[in-house]
Symmetry: C2
Subunit: 481 residues, 2 copies
């Protein structure tokens, strides 16, 4: 039997003005975690959350993480953990979000003051953090409030984990989650996890996200002379590290995105008919891609190929070169030591170490073939595993029902090409299913200028989060594996 949600939905609409005020106050706090000088604002934002949660009657704790590694004079912002309800008869859902934001300056090209929520005539609410991730975080709070004011019983025990360093590498968070997920820890009782910190694939249709690619990031350093040389004086006499490096980078991938490293393609899980059938239904067009790219320079011609290339196949990108001349103008330098940077987005069943071995062997062999007197060092700078959950798990089927209830259409089941490392941390630490349930849309410009959250996504999104909690409270517990 479908949950009774009408009075909750009505109350959300009724409170929408105050929910927008809540977001306005949050956006006004410039909680930029990358900026040391803003650390007090990040802390202030954590205090705002604590205060709001207390007013709603939640049990709240502000947990210190100690000094920031490498900056011992600077304390990390606290993790805010909260519990709303602790009935043994209810399921317990753990939700995650972050209250810090990317840097933003009006001069970067913002049309409005980045730390003043500004609503235009199309109900687009502009402001840094509006969609990433203050809107979704406050969505959970709004949901509690609307239940209270509608007199509707809250359907689950809600555990909340809100961090303040997500935009700066989530320093200290992994250890914290691992500790609190253990027996007796704050997250111990969680039956499932929900993260609202990504985006719809388009602008009209909700989605549930069940997969992320991993990322292995590599450095290829080539070193020759003891110091940079003048190309007039030594050009032709010295072997040049840049010559070797361009030849190695050129052998990694071709214009059409095919990875040229022997053995990589064989690691990719084969495409099943069932999986293939999913892509055709997804609400996405090549024009959506062209709009995001700002160009027609796509690798593929069809939507299906494009989505598979982003979600379920690996890709290799060359990011740049450290140590070479990179400024405007003309400098006649022979760089003595250059470091090429590239990364491979990984997918099932590519294991980090296996990929590393193939990459190292490929690069070393390519360098050997050059017959160079320079020296080579190839290394993996960091690696994060891919993640794929079963969209048939009860956590997902509940969310799908909630999304269809709120938006009138079944949500798209999507994966993402990028990584959200905390997803795997929660999955591994709790051993529970993790659902990514986005609130914002593809046009929200998170991390960019003129970040916004549409009023519709915020208000209907608040309904979605609440509805999800009702459905997940009642969904038969099948893991869909």
């Amino acid at each position: 039997m479908a949950p009774q949600l009408d009075s909750y939905f009505k109350q959300v609409d009724h409170l929408s003005g105050s929910f927008i005020e809540r977001l306005r106050k949050a956006v006004a706090i410039p909680s930029v975690s990358a900026d040391e000088d803003r650390r007090q604002d990040v802390v202030r934002m954590s205090e705002y959350l604590v205060s709001e949660l207390k007013t709603l009657g939640a049990h709240v704790e502000s947990r210190p993480l100690g000094p920031q590694p490498g900056k011992e004079h600077l304390q990390l912002p606290p993790v805010i953990v909260a519990r709303y309800g602790s009935s043994p008869s209810k399921r317990t859902i753990l939700v995650y979000g972050h209250y810090d934001v990317q840097p933003a300056l009006k001069d970067d090209g913002w049309a409005t003051e980045p730390f003043e929520l500004t609503i235009d005539d199309k109900d687009r609410m502009y402001g840094r953090g509006s969609t990433d991730d203050k809107g979704p975080v406050l969505g959970w709070l709004n949901s509690i409030q609307a239940h209270q004011e509608a007199g509707v019983e809250f359907p689950v025990n809600l555990l909340m984990c809100f961090e303040g360093m997500e935009e700066s590498g989530s320093e200290g968070l992994d250890e914290f989650i691992e500790k609190e997920a253990k027996k007796g820890g704050f997250f111990d009782a969680a039956d499932a996890v929900c993260i609202s910190d990504n985006y719809w694939l388009g602008t009209e249709k909700p989605c549930l996200t069940y997969g992320l690619r991993g990322c292995n990031y590599y450095s290829v350093e080539i070193k020759g002379p003891g110091q940079d040389l003048h190309s007039g004086v030594f050009g032709g006499a010295a072997q040049e590290p840049m010559t070797d490096l361009t030849r190695i980078l050129a052998g990694l991938v071709d214009t059409h995105g095919t990875i040229l490293i022997l053995g990589i393609a064989a690691l990719v899980a084969p495409l099943t008919d069932e999986e293939q059938s999913l892509y055709g239904h997804i609400s996405y067009t090549m024009d959506n891609l062209y709009e995001s790219l700002g160009s027609h320079t796509s690798v593929h011609a069809t939507k299906e190929q494009t989505l598979m290339a982003r979600w379920r196949y690996p890709s290799l990108s060359v990011h740049g070169i450290e140590g070479a001349f990179s400024a405007p103008g003309a400098k006649t330098v022979i760089p003595a030591k250059v470091t090429g940077k590239f990364s491979i987005r990984t997918v099932p069943d590519m294991e980090i170490e296996h990929v590393n071995r193939l990459v190292f062997a490929h690069v070393e062999k390519a360098f050997e073939k050059l017959g160079s007197k320079n020296s080579l060092r190839v290394s993996c700078q960091h690696a994060g595993k891919w993640w794929v959950a079963s969209p048939k798990h009860w956590n997902f089927t509940a969310a799908a029902k909630a999304a269809e209830r709120v938006f009138g259409v079944p949500p798209d089941l999507t994966r993402e090409g990028g990584s959200i490392p905390v997803t795997i941390t929660f999955e591994q630490a709790t051993g529970k299913n993790v659902l990514l349930l986005p609130m914002g849309s593809s046009t929200d410009a998170a991390h960019s200028v003129n970040e916004k959250l549409d009023r519709r996504n915020y208000i209907e999104g608040t309904k979605l989060l609440g509805a999800y909690l009702h459905y997940v409270a009642e969904e038969p517990m099948t893991n869909g594996a």
Copy 2:
């Protein structure tokens, strides 16, 4: 009959202390032309030269060059022109030098204060500008003074041209030289030109320099998406400009320095037996090269091959990429627009425009083969012609005799891999032979930290400049062509 030089030489030795004081005063003026805030010091240095030249009885003019292009509030430093002697029965020699210097800060790694001449126990005189180019400029003044105090008649009419912007692109100088070389101009009467602004090949043996390579500097811009993309989100879906660029750069030159652009090799003047025979005698070893490189990563195995590669064959260096990720660390960006920079050092008989056509055709064809949807733009950022003079011209044979007289060995006849654009300007404007007559040695570290001039090079160099003027006054006028 060899000129009588003994009393001149003796007087130079006698005055060596005051010559070093003259250099000390000059080094103490931080005439850094690249630094706007030092412009008054550059002007002060010009005034010091004017004052010294007047004291020596020369006719001196300080010629303004107007405001600095692009910085209309800032006046260019003046060109100091001077004339010492104007006897119709004497030959007229035009000499060039510059009184501005490269930037220098103690913090850059200097062992001593850069603007205090500091002499160590091996008579190495450290200080910014000591060898580049205040020492050589003052060498001409010292030479006049020593003639006067020795009571030896000055053998030529000496025209001097000392500029204050050499380290910053010699703004305004070309037009000035062209104007003054015309009939009735200050340089009109010149019979030959001598520039002392380069270095010995080693540390023991003097040299005369008769050739320089030219330089064509190229940009290859590849543009795809409208803005930088996230490699997680779009890797595999978008064609990446960096992929195309690395493949184009990799096809320009190989590890062993062979230029892969069709048609370039055919433009190079063939090596004659006569020219080939010159290289064996030159005082240079592979160890000298290894020491300069700070490594053993040479292209060639022999001295002769190495010198030819630096002086008489073209080379191609890839300098770097603008627009890609170039900082330390790991950034998962797909750069939207990247610009590769490379240059070709040119030699006889490579014409600038011909080389451009070959490069453009090669790059465009390589890009076409990629089948990319990105767009390409290749252009020549700037080009300077190579220069080769005949070392059999009387200007050179005179200098060779002077060098042998002072140092007891015939000088090496060298070319250089880099360019000194003013050389061609003087040659073309005056139509006369230009000789490069270096004072400093290969270890002087011009443009680097701990720049120095050895006492021997300064004092014997002053003798050399004076002796050259005696020999050039008497040398039979054969052009050696």
